[in-house]
């Protein structure tokens, strides 16, 4: 096979393969995003509300549940897509040899990898749509502009799917995913303006929060749901675009090295 990149519409065939599997266990895929926001809203909204009360964000006073609702979608997008292209893709690549089988057909490596990333984003968008329905019913997200969260979830999903795929390309064994999760995903989950505004962080830590993708995804999610923002949406959108381009390129590079031995 040529080392030059070859990408065509055929990637949808691999995407379709994942959809077939997803539909087989649709109940599981449906219930998690349905219950997850309810648990969080119950725990933080009712459990914490007495302690926290209002949150000041973007110059506006907000109830705590309203503040975290868009962030719940953003973090779900992150975990759905990142876990898909790490654990799930790794299992397909390493244990099930699914990619090996595909590489004996007219599919190219690029098509397989792009399909995996796009699939992870699709899964994230589906989860976001279900969560959106729940959170909108609870009055925590405004409609119809909140519907923009679905395409946003897809874009965020591509970003986290791409970096997940990059880790899949370099990780020696499946247990070692603990490392990027502990060093990258968990801190982001906690410190990206998700559960408290980054203005609460010490001055010197703030640039760190601004440097991670979840911050920008959360910002955009909040802007779409509530119309309030802290950072210019153009900057966040630009950041996510750059992130996607950079990590998709890296993911393709390391996966080629890994698979074409």
């Amino acid at each position: 096979m040529k080392s030059s990149v070859s990408l065509s519409w055929r990637f949808t065939k691999v995407w379709n393969r994942n959809l077939v599997v997803y539909r087989r266990i649709w109940m599981v895929n449906f219930i998690t995003p349905l219950l997850e926001p309810l648990f969080y809203i119950l725990a933080f909204g009712i459990g914490f509300s007495g302690l926290i009360g209002q949150v000041r964000y973007g110059g506006v006073e907000l109830s705590y549940t309203k503040f975290i609702a868009p962030a719940l979608i953003a973090t779900a997008v992150m975990s759905n897509s990142f876990f898909e292209t790490t654990y799930a893709s790794f299992v397909r690549m390493y244990y099930q040899k699914t990619f090996d089988a595909m590489l004996a057909t007219p599919l190219s490596l690029e098509e397989i990898i792009i399909a995996e990333i796009v699939w992870s984003a699709t899964k994230a968008a589906a989860a976001a749509a279900i969560m959106l329905a729940v959170l909108a019913l609870l009055g925590l997200i405004q409609l119809p502009q909140g519907l923009l969260l679905i395409p946003l979830a897809f874009i965020g999903g591509v970003a986290f799917g791409a970096i997940g795929m990059f880790f899949t390309g370099i990780i020696p064994s499946i247990d070692m995913f603990n490392l990027p999760i502990f060093l990258f995903i968990t801190p982001m989950f906690l410190f990206s303006g998700t559960f408290f505004p980054i203005s609460n962080l010490p001055q010197w830590v703030r640039p760190l929060a601004l440097a991670v993708p979840l911050y920008h995804l959360t910002e955009l999610a909040r802007w779409f749901s509530l119309g309030i923002k802290e950072t210019a949406p153009v900057a966040s959108g630009g950041y996510l675009t750059m992130f996607i381009v950079f990590f998709t390129y890296l993911a393709l590079k390391v996966m080629r090295k890994r698979l074409i031995r």
Binding site: M1, R10, K13, R17, V20, T98, D100, A101, P106
Partner: protein, 302 residues
């Protein structure tokens, strides 16, 4: 036009030579064998053939097209049965065929029909809705073959198609392959099973250390390198050794044991039986395994 044409193929991995210089060609409707000990370069060669690996040097043409340039058209016309079980455990037996047919852009209706025919041919129709994990080793192998045939390939590439199967399953796979062969299919097979190679292959090459040791038809190779009949003598005496040497009888001296190869029309069996068989002696026909061991040596690999 030749189906496969390989010229001066060379592959290096980090400075290590896996395939040195291999050239061969395969004609239409021919079953061609690629034999060799572990690490000889078989799987590497096969992977380069179906465009999985780029070659370091040399040319590979399938159906007259270059694999580096026209890999997509070539891959659309070949079926590959890999050594590992690469079936999709997340899908049912039938879904494995249907999802795979999409990779070849086969229209849905045609894929259903073709899938049903293949399941029938490989005696898997009753397992249509089963999970792949519920299949026995033989069934899984048959499904991999069925999947490799979903695009009605002009060339079937098989990497050890019967390794690890019980005798019943193995013979069933052989019968299916013979039926396909009678139907005019072209195939390339690697195998460690010499019975398989002599039974299925019209022509074969034995490779070792990345080079071709020999090429020919199985029977012709056997006659040339191992005669027609073999006598294995346990506890071979010095007299037997002298006798073999003096009479220029082809033989391998393995210490306690001696293997002697008798050409067509020789009276080797009787001579040994009467004069040199003190303990256990085995009289049998020469096989491809004799050829293989004589050419690649008896030392363990790996």
């Amino acid at each position: 036009m030749k189906i496969i044409e390989v010229q001066d193929l060379h592959k290096q991995f980090n400075g290590l030579v896996a395939v040195d210089s291999i050239s061969f060609s395969v004609e239409r409707a021919e079953f061609f064998g690629l034999l060799g000990p572990n690490g000889a370069g078989k799987t590497t060669t096969i992977r380069m053939l179906y465009g999985f690996l780029p070659s370091t040097q040399g040319s590979i043409r399938l159906f007259g097209m270059d694999i580096q340039q026209d890999w997509r058209q070539i891959k659309a016309r070949i079926g590959v049965c890999q050594q590992d079980n690469t079936l999709d455990p997340d899908l049912t037996v039938e879904q494995n065929l249907l999802v795979f047919s999409k990779y070849f852009s086969i229209p849905k209706r045609e894929a259903y029909q073709r899938g049903a025919e293949l399941l029938d041919f490989f005696a898997l129709s009753h397992k249509k809705n089963a999970k792949v994990s519920e299949l026995s080793g033989g069934m899984a192998r048959r499904l991999i073959l069925a999947r490799a045939l979903i695009n009605q390939p002009d060339l079937l590439i098989m990497d050890e198609p019967t390794t690890g199967l019980d005798p019943q399953s193995k013979h069933q796979v052989w019968e299916k392959l013979e039926t396909l062969k009678a139907g005019g299919l072209t195939a390339l097979i690697t195998t460690h099973n010499m019975e398989e190679a002599s039974r299925l292959c019209d022509r074969l090459i034995i490779i070792d250390h990345g080079n071709i040791l020999v090429e020919g038809r199985p029977q012709q190779l056997i006659a040339h390198y191992a005669g027609t009949n073999v006598v294995e003598v346990e506890g071979a005496s010095q007299e037997l050794r002298d006798y073999a040497r003096l009479n220029h009888i082809e033989h391998d001296d393995l210490g306690r044991r001696m293997v002697l190869y008798g050409p067509d029309g020789s009276d080797l069996d009787n001579t040994i039986r009467e004069r040199f068989c003190s303990a256990k002696c085995i009289y049998r026909n020469s096989t491809l395994e004799d050829v293989f061991l004589r050419l690649t040596g008896r030392e363990l690999r790996e």
